[in-house]
């Protein structure tokens, strides 16, 4: 994997695949159907990810000849806790049903989990430059830190009324990681 796809332990993936003729409306409908319930939430190493349908090029009205894509494309991008290899394994296993509905509507639709992994790697576009705001913190670490913050606030609130002995005992009992 190219170094430009990596920042700390965070990785960037982008895969662009042509949508099979006539399948664009169904694919768009399927993606819109997720609403607030993204299956990507099940991949616990995902920071940010999205599917984007590119229907065509945007043409500048001033350009001499209009240019058009051969057909609509699907772009999948994900920023996740590396490495790519095991992330794609998880994606193929965990999102098998969704993958059939999504990449199954693309040209050269992958049939098996192993197919899907090869398919995405084959259609991967390397990153030019990747920036991650917290390159060493995994999603799990960020979630734990947010949880700790809430616990710490709760503790600090209770602790304000405690005498030293009780405070010590309460702090040790919390076992802040």
């Amino acid at each position: 994997m190219k170094r430009a796809n990596v920042s700390g332990q965070a990785c960037a993936l982008m895969a662009m695949t042509p949508i099979a003729p006539g399948e664009e409306p169904a694919l768009r409908g399927y993606l819109e159907g997720f609403r607030g319930q993204s299956p990507l939430a099940r991949l616990e190493r995902t920071h940010f990810a999205r599917w984007v349908i590119v229907p065509d090029y945007v043409n500048d009205p001033k350009q001499r000849h209009e240019e058009h894509l051969g057909g609509p494309y699907l772009i999948f991008t994900s920023n996740f806790d590396g490495p790519l290899d095991t992330y794609l394994d998880e994606l193929a296993a965990e999102l098998a049903d969704e993958a059939r509905e999504i990449w199954g509507r693309c040209v050269g639709a992958p049939q098996t989990a192993a197919d899907l992994k090869r398919y995405l790697m084959h259609n991967q576009i390397d990153t030019g430059f990747f920036y991650a705001a917290y390159p060493t913190a995994t999603v799990a670490k960020v979630r734990a830190a947010l949880g700790n913050r809430d616990r710490l606030i709760d503790f600090a609130l209770r602790a304000q009324s405690m005498p030293p002995q009780e405070l010590r005992a309460a702090f040790l009992a919390e076992g802040f990681a």
Binding site: R149, D150, I153, L157, Q160, S161
Partner: protein, 454 residues
Amino acid sequence: MIDLADIQGDIVRAYGNAYARTTYLFVKVRDAEQGRTWLSSLVDRVTNAEPWTEGKPETALNLALTCAGLQALGVPQQTLDSFPSEFRAGMADRATLLGDTGPSDPSTWDRGLGTGEAHVLITVNALTDELLDSTLQQLETEMPSAVTGLHTEHGKVLEGAREHFGYADGFAQPAIEGATEDKTPGGGVPLAEGRWRPLALGEFILGYEDEESRDDPDRGLPSAPDAPLGRSGTYLVWRKLHQDVALFRKSLQEAAAFYEDGDEEKLAAKIVGRWRDGTPLVHSPDAADTAFDAAAPGANDFRYADADADGYRCPLGAHIRRSNPRDALGWEGRLSFRHRMIRRGMPYGPELPAGVTDDDGQQRGLVFACFVASISRQFEAVQVQWLNDGNIFHLGHDKDFLLGDPAGTGKMTVQGDPPFILGPQRNIVTTRGGEYLFVPGITALAAIADGVAG
């Protein structure tokens, strides 16, 4: 030159506490023609911004319209489309963004507010109860069958010009070039070496240069609705905010029991950033200044970056530091001076007697009213990014203690040695209704009444 005769009153210069009574009357217009005839009869009585040379009038009358109201009065769609999208959508539509959720959700608002039925807001100021009653009565008599009252809110100046939680309010108003330059120290834009400059009028009144256009000869005037509506007008953000005074007192009492010798007044000051009499904490961190005079020169002249960067005087998340950060965000105030509002709030409902900490079930609170040239850049930015979130102040998802969203897990830290922490907020303040309104200039108002607005 400011065309004061064309701008409605109480905007660039406050009526202030000149009037003991303020009543807000929302009406619905069912027929455009009848509505316009009715409006015509009011236009000549609308109070403008010219100075009162013969003392204050006994009453003052002002008008504002929602987008639905403009439509109901027959303003053409093309003209409506020239208004900004947040105004056209209306406040209720922006509820999620504004934090009007849970107990503040528009579905729970007072009847007639946030439903698209409120068309015209008539604001009546009066010196006495009798004058108010007779004016309201006259207004009611004059209404044709197609114009009906929807919601009335009676505001009243409370003892000592305080709001219901007991704080003197309304000190920090923006200083406007050519209008309120006396407020420049503390109310303008902070400059180097402790100097300030007033804000351009276009930050608040449409049709004038604003802070972006006035120093750039290549720029046109700021965007405004199509002529003849785009001149001398402004936007009014009107919110009815219920205050649970008993709960506030109880929360404060409970928290203060563990704060610096149980100093409840000091903790109350830390929440807001001013002592209850208005003394700024930055000026006077240990006790209220008994000699504090809000009208004295320099009373509002303070900053945060040098005097109190760590919030040991005025906490980083104190209400006034959030809603008007001055230079607290760095860059000498350049990140905050385009988010100023002219505030004209007014309490409603009876006071909860001093010392009472059980709710008496009475409706009381604040009618929050502010005038801005851009609802999204000024009011919404402050509400969403500064009051309902702490990120920009490096306070995580802490929210404003008074207004904050009770569903959140935000706390408030009172910086100190040791710091003191106030727990996640309860429903101290809930939204009971609100509207985004357009306040036309006098000429524009006449054009709407004559059916020639676009």
